[in-house]
């Protein structure tokens, strides 16, 4: 048991790192808050002044805002569905004894090591390009009209690219969880006359529930702020078809030079992220008991 004396000492010892982390977080947040109540445009320097909630009113009433909100949620949900579903499927396949298992597993993980900008560029220029892309070549080979993915289905294309990047992560986590499943349990189920599907739904899925929660949590944190993939492929377009909240804040600040409006957007994004976090924490609390 720690004595009162030791506790006081411990508090002093951790104080510097706590203060540093707090400062690291509080200073930018406070500045963003401050800017969000200012009329602050880089094109008209020296005109800064306090304008109250005006930035928020403009940002929230911007038609692009609601579209960006929808797109953000669609990206998160779309990628989660693909990576969790595909991850379970791939994990089940990779768990089978096959030739060259080690090599296959390394190949599986590879996309995760590629930078988002690079992989998005590769997808854009080598796969989805309507003239030189692989998909266009395949379409032409079978006599079909090549699809201009990024122009016709921009959001779906981005979901596809991001899902491709995150699939290995989900697969890896789910595969390790799968390998920790007690083989005697599976044998017991086999003796009990369970079909392959029954074994999957009654044993494998409940066993994976924790790992799935972890995947959803970690991916959501990163997926709420997808940016590089949008910047190098569609630039948020056509129109606002592939603009998410992060990209909208970026365009407000660095394309329209409206620091005040962008800050208001940033604060709104923080609030939304916290709402999502509350839901996620509840979900985790339930599965982890």
């Amino acid at each position: 048991m720690a004595t009162r004396h030791q506790k006081t000492l411990a508090r002093f010892m951790v104080a510097p790192s706590v203060l540093l982390l707090l400062g690291w977080m509080i200073v930018p947040l406070a500045m963003t808050l401050w800017f969000s109540f200012q009329s602050y445009n880089l094109l008209s320097p020296g005109m800064e002044q306090f304008i109250g909630w005006t930035n928020y009113k403009y940002f929230l009433s911007d038609p692009a805002f609601w579209q960006a909100m929808t797109n953000t949620l669609l990206i998160v949900i779309g990628v989660l569905v693909i990576t969790v579903g595909g991850g379970i499927l791939l994990a089940l396949l990779l768990d089978q004894p096959i030739m060259g298992q080690g090599v296959v597993r390394i190949l599986m993980i590879a996309p995760f090591f590629i930078m988002p900008t690079v992989s998005a560029l590769v997808w854009k220029n080598m796969f989805m390009n309507p003239v030189n892309g692989l998909f266009a070549w395949v379409a032409k080979a079978v006599g079909a009209q090549p699809v201009d993915f990024l122009a016709q289905y921009p959001l779906m294309s981005i979901i596809g690219i991001v899902a491709w990047q995150w699939l290995p992560f989900a697969t890896l986590i789910l595969l390790t969880a799968l390998q920790s499943l007690d083989s005697e349990q599976m044998e017991a189920a086999e003796m009990d006359g369970a079909s392959a599907w029954a074994k999957f739904t009654h044993l494998v899925l409940p066993h994976l529930s924790r790992a799935i929660t972890v995947v959803i949590l970690i991916e959501t944190i990163f997926l709420l702020s997808v940016f590089a993939e949008i910047l190098v492929t569609t630039n948020g377009g056509p129109g606002y078809a592939s603009t998410n909240l992060t990209y909208l804040v970026y365009s407000q600040a660095l394309l329209q030079y409206d620091v005040g409006g962008a800050s208001a957007g940033g604060i709104i994004a923080v609030i939304l992220a916290n709402i999502v976090a509350i839901f996620l924490m509840r979900m985790i609390g339930k599965t982890l008991e």
Partner: protein
């Protein structure tokens, strides 16, 4: 009904032959124990019967039907695993009902059977708990419950007591024996503990390196071991083996004497020696004796026998209680 017949069953994992060919007959209602040192293939043999491993060659018949290539669930056998293999996210009730649910039985019949099994195994108060909230012995009973609700033609036990502590093991041993009397169903039980084998079995199968060394009732194996391995494995403490002059005088390569079959004296006898450790238990006295000539033996005297570390002692094997073995280890 539950008779099991193995005909020349052979199992190899790649190049390694684990079971070189076993013939065995298990009769309906028998309690058969496979016993042997670890790695002797006893668990593999059980898994072959269960269908969890495929036989390399040979035949397995259950109630006269060839099930060599049948799926485990089709063999009407139930198995209790060493780790219990309970489903951790299901309640005890759901665990026990799982095989019935998989068989598509209606809910009322499921409830009736689960209730019946829980009654037999004293689990009625624990039906809504998760396996994680139960003690080792209770988990073991749930695993048995899951086996009995299916009303199988035979039960297979794979070292079910090895994860329990010593006191609980003795209790569960008695419970399983009583269950066998109550259900009168064939049971095949794997263990490396010869005490479990001796106390529970109707018939013991002693295995070594995948071969059946001897099959028989516990006392048959105790009285007439076929070879030196069986003689040394059955009985506690182990049989003492003496080689050299003493043995050749009796016309054998080696002789075996059980610890309880020595006459002890502090003045004269056949085999002189020095007492090493003396364990005085009150009801028995176990003496670890270093015989002159270097052989170490254990002797048991009933009641108290007042010798201590360093005392001289003479041991004389009792007439008619000496086992003789030839140079290949077979009984003479």
């Amino acid at each position: 009904m539950g008779s099991i017949t193995l005909k020349q069953v052979r199992k190899a994992f790649g190049e390694v032959e684990v079971i070189p060919g076993v013939d065995l007959q298990i009769n309906d209602g028998e309690f058969v124990v496979f016993v042997g040192p670890s790695g002797c293939g006893k668990s593999t043999l059980l898994r072959l019967i269960a269908g969890l491993e495929d036989v390399t060659s040979g035949q397995i018949l259950i109630d006269g039907q060839d099930v060599t290539h049948a799926a485990p669930a089709k063999r009407k056998l139930a198995m209790v695993f060493q780790s219990y293999a309970l489903y951790p996210h299901m309640s005890v009730r759901k665990n026990i009902a799982f095989p019935l649910k998989m068989a598509g039985m209606d809910a009322a019949e499921q409830d009736r059977r689960v209730g019946h099994a829980a009654g037999i195994l004293n689990l009625t108060d624990y039906l809504e708990r998760r396996p994680g909230q139960l003690s080792g012995g209770q988990r073991q009973r749930v695993a048995i419950g899951r086996a009995i609700v299916r009303e199988p033609s035979a039960f297979l036990f794979d070292e079910p007591l090895s994860n329990l502590d010593a006191a609980l093991r003795v209790n569960m041993r008695v419970e399983i024996s009583e269950l066998h009397k109550k259900l009168a169903t064939t049971m095949v039980y794997v263990t490396h503990d010869q005490v479990e084998a001796m106390t529970m079995a109707d018939k013991i199968v002693v295995l070594r390196a995948g071969r059946v060394e001897q099959v028989g009732s516990p006392l048959e194996l105790y009285r007439n071991p076929a070879n030196r391995f069986v003689a040394g494995f059955i009985g506690s403490p182990n049989m003492n083996f003496l080689e050299g002059e003493v043995a050749s005088r009796m016309g054998a390569h080696a002789i075996g004497v059980r610890p309880g079959h020595f006459r002890m004296s502090t003045s004269d006898g056949l085999l002189p020696g020095t007492v090493g450790v003396a364990e005085h238990l009150g009801s028995d006295t176990f003496l670890h004796v270093d015989l002159d000539g270097g052989t170490h033996v254990i002797a048991r005297a009933e009641g108290e026998f007042p010798v201590h570390h360093g005392d001289r002692i003479w041991l004389t094997p009792q007439e008619g209680r000496i086992y003789r073995f030839n140079d290949k280890g077979l009984s003479l």
